[in-house]
Amino acid sequence: MSSTAEHTDVLVIGSGFGGAIAAYHLAAGGAKVTVLERGPWLKSADFEHDYKLGSSYTRAFDFVVGDGMSILGGNCVGGGSVVYFAAMPRAPRFVFDRQGSIGRRMWPGAVSRDTLDPWYDRVEESLSVAKQDWNDVSYAGGLWAAACDHAGRTANPLAVAIDNTKCVNCNWMMAGCRFEAKQSLLVNYLPAALAHGAEIRPLHEVQHISRTSDGDYRVHYNVIHDEDYRLQAGSGVIEAKIVVMAAGAGATPVILQRSEAHLGTMPRAVGRYFSGNGERLNTAIIDEKRAAELFGLDRGDGLAYAANQIGKGPTVASWDKLDGSLPEYSRYSLEQLYFPPGLGTILAQVPDAAGPTWFGREKKEILKKWTSWLTIFSMIEDDNEGVFGPPPATGNAHRISQQMLGRGNLRYDPTKNTLGAWAASDAEVKEILEKDGLAKVMPWTNDLVGAYTVHPLSSCRMGDDPLTSALDDRNELRDHPGIFVTDGSAVPGALTVNPAMTIAALAERAVPGIVQAAQRKGISVTYGAPAPDGSRSGRKKVLPLLPTLTRT
């Protein structure tokens, strides 16, 4: 059997942050690397500015409605990095000491802000992450900053992975960057992985993993139709000595659940402890006159704001509540954000409505003020209360629409801690933005598709305690040697800031352990590649850490 099957040294599932980073380093180190990615491989010219179903937006997205929580993620080569907003802050120090629902530190003892900082440095170098200037800040970010200031708060231009010299502020980041300004993985780690011989196969959706008689892994996939993702265009298997799972926190645990019948019992934490990174959105409808009067804001043409359509995702965040001395569940950040029509507009509610809040007469009136909307994104500390039910027939959801929309088995029933933290952040957003009549504010409703996250985390998390973590502190799946998880599912809990930076840093940190496991399985591979563009200063800082990451 195994002699006729296709073989690779390292099989990577998913090509987002976790997948691309592992694929690059292992290929650069000399391993034969194959990446299976369920979504299409889109090029810059494919990133149209179009809301039509079936165009760039929809084919690059995966929107899975669960019970109490819906997940929006990337579905293409490059994963979430293609559709993300490229805000790249490091997680604050206190996050690593969080206890969450288990009543003791949930992160592995080996990981703290100090031990992760050198890995963050590597990511900053590789993705050209830089702090924005006030000159780079969009109208929406500027308005949010002015409102924070007026209410006695501070506000920060965000660190982003965007080349502002190329950015045209089109606000179509969620459809992929047509102008190659966004430093998605399509312009760094993935081309570098390809240059070192890695192979990427788009439209290959992994279903489950089984074992070969000689102790390797056999990965079973379906080939997905390139336009109607509900259809399958074939299936196959590929054998590998090492499997790196990076299908994202909404998909990795589902693949593992489906594999349980073949691989044996999964650690208890597989498919549990899911966190939506505590996300919550509020929509403010700005009173243009007050914005001009209160802050002297002026776009130069008599308009104060009315710029919802203009910009580039989040540019300014307020970090006043990221104070480690505050108790858990009371710390959060508040970030200005852009959400295009189609995906989120229906969830915005009418302030002071007499009738229905999310549809109807009054909703239509606020839609007419859409250009004066300002969206604020809270990231609170939730309670890791998400649990995945039995896996669907294929993939991670039952697909409904040709693309994008599916129904999954995630159940999220927010605890009092989470509800309280959301309420506190909602109240603060209201306090800041309704001060002196600047705006009217309402949170998005959770009644339609549950809470909503673009930052799924923790469904297969790392830790020291086998009962509450599926991975050890080097990202290897407990009791299944040779399977590593490097995506957002490994992050133990909500981060109070955007997660890609931390997912990427943890993936960088996991690579030396994966290299060592590969070497032990006879693969000729070494660790030590520079950043994808050849820069070496990040590498200098992490090489001394290797002894702490290898297993004896």
Partner: protein, 192 residues
């Protein structure tokens, strides 16, 4: 009851008028002509119907296209029950949902989309696509929809793209410092 089922036979016109009434409840518009029964006429300008909700719903890309007969039949059944419970007399010349006043249509949709309602998923999805017809013209190329004066995109004030169909904004920000930075910020712009 039998005659009721026949009356709402979910094909052709009856299905269309029912779904139009549903779409108009999500984003209401003004009547297209005197005697327009689908559109309740509680708002000015085009609503979801004028924005193309039926075209979007019937497109197979949505995945709900082949369930529309059932949805139209079901919402009429719910409307009949809703009216009966409240002793509302329904005009038999149109399907029951269409016969309801706007506020009752809205109240019924709220009931159907309440968390815990066994059919909630279907009604949320139907509502979502009705809304998308208005707020993003998801059945049309966006640049063309804008050029043709799509009522939803126009009402929301979306600007027109450049000639190549792409948006670019030369002026995008106030270009000045508008707040104090958090004191614990790293040089690269992260929380310390």
């Amino acid at each position: 009851m039998r005659s009721e089922n026949e009356r709402v036979a979910p094909d052709g016109e009856l299905r269309t008028i029912t779904l139009e009434a549903y779409a108009d409840t999500i984003v209401p518009g003004q009547k297209r002509h005197d005697g327009d029964r689908a559109i309740a006429g509680v708002a000015t300008g085009g609503g979801a119907v004028q924005a193309g909700a039926l075209e979007l719903l019937q497109w197979d890309a949505t995945g709900i296209h082949d369930g529309l007969d059932d949805l139209a039949r079901l919402v009429n059944e719910h409307a009949t029950a809703y009216a009966a419970e409240r002793s509302i007399a329904l005009d038999p010349s149109v399907p029951p949902f269409v016969a309801l006043e706007y506020d009752d249509r809205a109240a019924l949709i709220l009931l159907l989309t309440t968390p815990g309602h066994p059919e909630k998923d279907f009604w949320v999805m139907l509502s979502l696509f009705c809304n998308m017809a208005f707020d993003s013209a998801a059945h049309l190329p966006t640049a063309q929809a804008l050029a043709d004066g799509h009522p939803g995109l126009a009402a929301m004030g979306l600007s027109h793209p450049d000639a190549d169909g792409l948006w670019r904004f030369k002026d995008f920000g106030y270009g000045r410092e508008l707040a104090r930075l958090h004191p614990d910020t790293t040089p690269s712009g992260s929380p310390a």
